[in-house]
């Protein structure tokens, strides 16, 4: 019991039991969710650390091997490739998303006829189920698919989206942009709509309009939202799995084997649970860095 409560209890004995009861209810209400998080989040995290130091194939019990899994990963060209692919995919997509979704939000923050209808249309790619999204893009990437038909209309020769190792990631980046730009448009819109109109009016009186108002009013006030979008998009993209699994399964020649897929294949196809856990730890540190950054931004944001 904290000192303050204890002091209060001494001063007024009747409060003591009421205070204790109050605390007990507090713990009781928190307990079920907390217990679930312990079992399905904290213990798995600790177990991932432990397993990463073992050799484990699900059949015989885990055997302690020290840091050998980490050494294996650092010397594994497939792992290097996977890290590179993930970085290319994540940052390639995110940089585009930051600008495209901001542009979309700016459009929908301006006066537009039939705004709600248009915004709904723009938003639809984000509500398609993830497997349907993957199937649609698998179909678009077909040699005779819509993408190549569109390119042909502009006189561009057909691209082998699924078998050309140089074209496959740009294709995936395009698909992720399609799916996630609307999502971040919504987050940007929330940020834009929280900027008081008076600021623009004041800027207009000072003779700033259009691009200048954007630079002097919108951008500085949107800064927290921009930072949020940057961090969230990186976290979101660093765990993509489903679309890669369905569209290419990591191919051609590992050109799309992102880290989450590397972990899945190592663990559940080659049954190297220890090695997969070591790879998880790498991905964990990656996402953790950005999440901590995000929480920090939030705290600053909340303080105002």
């Amino acid at each position: 019991m904290p000192a303050k409560a204890r002091a209060a209890g001494r001063a007024r004995p009747w409060l003591r039991s009421a205070e204790a009861r109050h605390q007990a209810w507090g713990y009781l209400f928190l307990a079920p969710m907390f217990l679930l998080l312990v079992v399905f989040k904290f213990i798995p995290m600790l177990q991932a650390f432990y397993l990463s130091l073992t050799s484990y194939d699900l059949l015989s019990p885990p055997r302690f091997v020290g840091l050998r899994n980490y050494a294996t990963l650092l010397g594994d060209p497939l792992f290097h490739q996977s890290v590179g692919v993930t970085a290319y995919y994540v940052f390639g997509t995110c940089v585009l998303i930051w600008f495209v979704s901001l542009g979309m939000a700016l459009i929908f923050n301006a006066p537009l006829p039939a705004k709600n209808l248009l915004r709904t249309i723009y938003f639809i790619p984000a509500i398609v189920p993830v497997v349907v999204y993957a199937i649609i893009w698998l179909f678009l990437f077909h040699p005779y698919g819509l993408l190549n038909v569109a390119l042909h209309a502009f006189g561009v020769p057909a691209v082998q989206w699924l078998s050309d190792t140089r074209a496959v990631l740009p294709g995936f980046i395009l698909s992720s942009l399609w799916r996630f730009a609307p999502y971040f448009m919504i987050i940007y819109l929330a940020g834009l709509q929280s900027i008081p109109l008076e600021y623009y009016e004041a800027a207009a009186i000072d003779g700033a309009a259009g691009a200048q108002a954007f630079r002097c009013v919108t951008l500085p006030l949107l800064r927290p939202t921009i930072l949020l979008v940057v961090v969230v998009s990186i976290i979101l993209m660093s765990k993509v799995f489903t679309n890669v699994l369905i569209i290419t399964g990591g191919g051609p020649a590992g050109a799309t084997r992102v880290l989450s897929l590397f972990i899945y294949q190592t663990g559940f196809q080659y049954f190297k649970m220890g090695l997969a856990s070591a790879a998880s730890i790498f991905l964990l540190f990656g996402t953790m860095t950005f999440t901590l950054l995000q929480l920090r931004l939030f705290r600053e944001d909340a303080r105002g």
């Binding site: 019991m1 928190l30 798995p44 991932a48 249309i121 993830v130 497997v131 179909f139 989450s260 996402t287």
Partner: protein
């Protein structure tokens, strides 16, 4: 209004609308393909409205796999996970916002920190735990680990912090009891947050792929996303069937979006906190 904006403005509007259509094209292509005969799928120029539409593709695809079962499974899993998550996250948020006890802040930070542990990172150990519990190929294996998600705790706490403490205390003094206060006073006041969380969780569980993909190998327990992926794998080149099933699979989420657009959008605007 019309006088304030010139030709350039309307050209811009036209461009915005046209780009919206371009974004929609992949989905329209999917729907149109689902109604074509197999030998006309890549025919040029693209026939956006197939003539005549081959409606038979739908029942034919639907009957290849037990999709009714998959839908029922998805429904059971999403409903249970949503109800449990909203209930437990609500109680936890209530505890963190309207009670004072030792270690509260540390517990809150611990809960918050689980947000950086997505299933994609923890798939191996989570799988091993569920295996040890004997929950592979069970509903509880699909549901319970999904309920363990801290986003709702965070969301509920934030909204409940906005309620005046005096309100809760007054109800307690009136003898409403702890649970009674929560359900009769707090929940009705934060109803929009409850709805937002419910829609958000429903969507996440309905669309979950990684977790069921790892722990379910029995056909009778597959959810819609897994059934769809298996179907696609088996009928790779039967594009019209794959597109028909995909179109059907898209309907529930689209309906959810149109019925609860406001809560849906709010959930996304807030989910920056989560992803």
């Amino acid at each position: 209004m019309a006088r304030r904006f010139g030709l350039l403005y309307w050209l811009g509007v036209l461009l915005v609308a046209a780009w919206g259509l371009v974004q929609l094209a992949p989905i329209l292509w999917m729907i149109s393909t689902s109604l074509k005969p197999l030998n006309r799928i890549f025919a040029l120029p693209i026939q956006w409205i197939p003539h005549p539409p081959q409606w038979g593709n739908y029942p034919e695809a639907w009957n290849q796999f037990p999709f009714a079962r998959y839908f029922a499974n998805s429904f059971i899993v999403s409903l249970s996970a949503t109800v449990l998550n909203v209930f437990l996250a609500g109680l936890a948020g209530y505890s963190l916002s309207k009670y004072r006890y030792f270690g509260q802040r540390a517990l809150f930070i611990a809960i918050l920190s689980t947000l950086m542990l997505p299933i994609e990172v923890l798939m191996v150990p989570t799988f091993l735990i569920v295996k040890a519990l004997g929950w592979l190929n069970t509903y509880q294996g699909l549901i319970i680990p999904t309920v363990a998600d801290a986003f709702g705790v965070f969301l509920m706490r934030q909204f409940m912090l906005g309620l005046p403490d005096s309100l809760v205390e007054a109800a307690r003094i009136d003898g409403a009891g702890e649970l009674g206060t929560y359900f009769r006073i707090v929940v009705p006041l934060i109803w929009p947050a409850v709805l937002t969380l419910a829609i958000f969780t429903w969507r996440e569980t309905w669309d979950a792929f990684v977790w069921p993909y790892i722990i379910i190998s029995e056909d009778t327990l597959r959810t819609v996303p897994i059934g769809l992926q298996r179907f696609q794998e088996q009928y790779v080149t039967t594009y019209n069937s794959v597109m028909a099933i995909s179109t059907i699979a898209m309907v529930p989420l689209v309906l959810l979006f149109f019925f609860f657009q406001r809560a849906f959008i709010r959930g996304i605007a807030l989910s920056g906190l989560k992803e």
